[in-house]
């Protein structure tokens, strides 16, 4: 069966493909398969409880007849155990009648065991929504099915659904959401679309008669009967609520549901003739649930429940407890009939907060003494199991801490520079980007350099800072999450000095914090990288360079509005050897991401960097380093080259000063002008 749309009320967590679970997906009050109702659990798996409980009930009947006045928490009562489990509408009708009047949604909630978190939305879904249509079906009273158990209603509905599906040649199944027998007429409600297909069945032969279908004027048969029903259910509901109130101890936050079978009010209400205990329990849980607006209110009011003395042999019989109280802390299941772990298995992945579980005086103590170890492993917070301490609160806390995800710790800058090239570049770059972008672009960017920027408009930011405007940047943003067409992505990649210069000119003027004095406002990482394009064409295998990723902040001023805005950025620049005749270092790739201003976290090691050496991967400077600094200064002084070139020169000469000086004189003619400081050689 194909899934139907959400408005048809088939929740995602139900499986419509499980044929026997089909009725469980219905939103309407008429469930047509019950009698040990087959339920679907929240994962969509068929709940095997019904069958298991029936089997258990069967055994119980032979060996352990239910005492008068008490009741087994089993799917079966005397009434239902006399016939095999078989789909019928009765059970569902009964719960609905018992607890509710017109709104079938409540019933659908109980019978489906919906996850409590999704309850609100489900219960607010109108069952007689505007997308539904009600039809009147005649013919049941003359049919042969009239004498069937349940009056033939179930058979009629199955027939309608099947024929409507085949008549409409549909890929999905027609679904009747709600049905009601009123006199000789059957009112069925389905989605408008499905209702049209059901209309096609009009005049079909069925069980020795013809089915006659007309559209109902009203959405549903209202009138006196319905309101009577409502009043009656309201009455029952009120009584149950009273009973729950009597059994609630606000001081201990305890809901005492022990020995329900001998509850005088329930006996007085004739509950055990009207309903099965399992259904009664579900109804109780729904009423409980209704008392609380939020899950938190529920947690605050009820932390403990006792279900002692209810003859439970499988927790499936009280499954809704864990749906209504998923955060229960203490639970007493003493004096029940749980024989095997299997009887508790359904709660293995529930009750995640349970700390106390009492199973005193259950047969499992004798039949499977080793069950305790397994139970401890099921419930991570369990500390008290039947009065024995199985964990300490500290152990629970430690285990939770160990399981809690923790962010990868921050370390200081990972600045694996090559001969100060990165340091020199970043200083030059930040200064140049603020002061003189055209010159910066001309120096480091060539015809094969790329620049692009992305606006990340979803980054987090301090709550006291208003979100920035992105007007000056957004038209250039190449954020691939937003810009998805090949053409636009192509257009927003800027290549070549001239293009980059012109884009930079259109971007607002910026002011970055001073790298030397405000180094804590930056995080700068860099490391060497191989295989870059060699613009000299010498090396087939490519050349080595470095990749610098740095994060920081800047202030900009909108050229039109003159508004100053602080922003954060991350920028990845890949440096390689420059083209022949150009600056020895070039930018191959420059990827800029802009974000709302959010100060960087203090990182370890940032304090190490002092004003003189903005980026210090290792402190403190060794004697060798000091000597190198002296050589560098001396070479600068003697040659007039700037620090960058002097350093390169020394590197080539393996920091032998005289050799470096010789290299300088040899290469002097081919050095570009910007290798020298303004003053020129002495």
């Amino acid at each position: 069966m194909a899934p139907t749309g959400p408005r048809n009320g088939a929740p995602r967590n139900n499986t419509r493909s499980a044929a026997s679970g089909k009725s469980a997906t219905r939103g309407g009050i008429a469930k047509r398969r019950a009698g040990g109702p087959i339920r679907v659990d929240r994962d969509g798996d068929l709940d095997m409880d019904a069958a298991a409980a029936n089997a258990a009930g069967g055994r119980g009947k032979k060996s352990n007849p239910a005492p008068a006045g008490s009741t087994r928490k089993s799917t079966r009562t005397n009434a239902s155990s006399s016939r095999p489990p078989r789909p019928t509408t009765k059970a569902s009708h009964m719960v609905a009648k018992m607890i509710q009047g017109g709104t079938g949604s409540l019933h659908s909630r109980i019978s489906q065991g919906i996850d409590p978190s999704s309850r609100h939305t489900r219960s607010s879904r109108p069952i007689n929504g505007t997308n539904n249509k009600t039809l009147i079906v005649e013919g049941l009273q003359h049919s042969k099915a009239r004498d069937n158990e349940g009056g033939g209603l179930k058979e009629l509905l199955i027939f309608l659904e099947r024929k409507a599906t085949t008549a409409g040649k549909l890929s999905h199944s027609v679904r009747i959401k709600k049905s009601q027998l009123k006199g000789d007429l059957v009112y069925v409600t389905a989605s408008k679309e499905d209702a049209e297909h059901i209309m096609k069945v009009n005049g079909f032969d069925w069980a020795g008669t013809k089915v006659h279908i007309t559209e109902a004027d009203d959405q549903a048969p209202n009138g006196a009967e319905a309101s009577n029903l409502s009043a009656q259910t309201q009455d029952v509901k009120e009584n149950l609520r009273t009973m729950l109130a009597q059994r609630y101890d606000p001081g201990q936050k305890l809901l005492n549901l022990a020995s329900l079978g001998s509850d005088s009010l329930l006996i007085q209400m004739n509950m055990f003739q009207e309903s099965t205990p399992q259904k009664l329990f579900r109804a109780l849980m729904v009423i409980c649930d209704e008392q609380f607006k939020t899950a938190q209110a529920k947690r605050d009011a009820i932390s403990s429940v006792t279900l002692a003395g209810n003859n439970i042999d499988d927790v499936g019989q009280v499954m809704t407890l864990t749906e209504t109280f998923p955060d229960l802390i203490h639970l007493d299941l003493s004096n029940n009939s749980i024989k095997e772990l299997r009887g508790l298995r359904k709660w293995q992945h529930r009750l995640r907060k349970i700390e106390t579980l009492l199973l005193i005086n259950n047969p499992i103590d004798v039949s499977n003494p080793s069950y305790k170890d397994e139970l401890v492993s099921w419930f991570p917070r369990l500390q008290n199991l039947s009065g024995t301490q199985v964990r300490t609160a500290e152990q629970v806390a430690a285990a939770e801490l160990a399981n809690k995800p923790t962010p990868i710790p921050q370390s200081g800058p990972d600045f694996r520079d090559i001969n100060g090239v990165g340091e020199q570049f970043i200083t030059d770059f930040i200064r140049g980007y603020d002061m003189d972008r055209p010159t910066l672009a001309a120096k480091y960017y060539d015809d094969y350099s790329h620049f692009s920027l992305s606006v990340n408009g979803r980054s987090s930011h301090p709550p006291d800072i208003p979100l920035p405007q992105w007007g000056s940047y957004i038209k250039f943003s190449r954020n691939h999450v937003k810009i998805t067409t090949t053409h636009a992505r192509q257009q927003r990649l800027f290549s070549g000095t001239a293009v980059i210069q012109s884009v930079w000119q259109k971007l607002p003027a910026t002011r970055h914090p001073d790298l030397a004095t405000q180094f804590d406002k930056y995080i700068i990482d860099c490391h060497p990288i191989s295989g870059l394009a060699d613009l000299s064409g010498q090396s087939m295998a490519g050349v080595d360079g470095m990749i610098i990723t740095f994060h920081g902040e800047f202030e900009d001023q909108d050229p039109e509005t003159k508004v100053t805005t602080k922003r954060s950025f991350s920028r990845t620049i890949i440096l390689g050897p420059g083209a022949p005749g150009r600056n020895p270092i070039r930018v191959a790739s420059d990827v800029l991401t802009l974000k709302a201003y959010n100060p960087l976290p203090p990182i370890l090691g940032a304090a190490v960097a002092n004003a003189a050496v903005p980026v210090a991967p290792q402190a403190p400077a060794s004697a060798e380093e000091v000597q190198k600094q002296q050589m560098l200064a001396e070479l600068c002084r003697q040659t007039g080259m700037n620090e960058e070139y002097s350093r390169m020169c020394l590197d080539v000469a393996n920091w032998v000063f005289d050799q470096a000086l010789a290299t300088f004189h040899e290469k002097r003619a081919s050095l570009p002008a910007d290798a020298f400081t303004v003053a020129g050689p002495v």
Binding site: S459, S530, G542
Partner: protein, 209 residues
């Protein structure tokens, strides 16, 4: 990072300046050819980055090993090319992918990566590390997208949020991650397994804020 044989490093460049000027003409001829490819290379880089970002973070989210995304999974890139991935996570340099995985493991689960923005640029249109000298000499067509893609390396920068835990306990941090990816030679050709990544990470820099 092992240096390629015969690659001029930045500092060697100064020393060999004169020699380079003699070869200048030849050099620009090569780069001019390169430029004619730029349109296609940008397109390839963009598509490959999209694919990478989509699946890499999915892998991390599922708690699976990301080993297949790194150059260490290619014999050619590691043995012939002498590469190993350079992984820097919040300032810590991981010696290998296994160490990175340990960091991820220590981070725990559940973890969810929300990608807010990413961008990619072509880097080297003729990346040859890991190819034998003979293979390097084989010319590559610059007009067919598939051929352009074969030797392309590219850079990616991702910006987003990493969410740790679930429900009320979720801790959210912004992150930035930069990658350089290079061709996976073993994944090329007709007989290559289709499950292989077409590009592999040679450089990764992660920072959370």
């Amino acid at each position: 990072m092992s240096q390629q044989q015969g690659n001029p490093t930045i500092q060697a460049k100064v020393a060999s300046e004169g020699k380079q000027q003699q070869q200048q003409h030849e050099g620009y001829k090569f780069t001019f050819e390169m430029e004619s490819k730029t349109g296609l290379t940008a397109q390839c880089a963009t598509a490959a980055a999209q694919n990478f970002v989509d699946s890499f973070y999915e892998t991390l989210q599922r708690g699976k090993s990301p080993a297949q995304y790194y150059v260490s999974s290619s014999a050619k890139l590691t043995t012939v090319g002498g590469l190993r991935p350079d992984i820097s996570v919040n300032g810590r340099v991981c010696g290998d992918v296994a160490e990175y995985e340990q960091l991820l493991e220590a981070q725990g689960a559940p973890v969810h990566y929300e990608i807010h923005s990413f961008d990619a640029q072509p880097l080297n249109p003729n990346y040859v590390i890991g190819l034998t000298p003979a293979e390097q000499q084989q010319p590559v067509s610059s007009t067919r997208e598939r051929d352009v893609a074969e030797r392309l390396s590219f850079s990616v920068q991702v910006s987003g949020a990493v969410k740790l835990g679930k429900g009320e306990d979720v801790a959210e941090k912004d992150f930035n991650e930069a990658f350089v990816l290079v061709p996976h030679w073993e994944a090329q050709g007709r007989s290559a397994s289709r499950n292989m990544r077409k590009w592999l990470v040679v450089s990764q820099n992660f920072r959370s804020f």
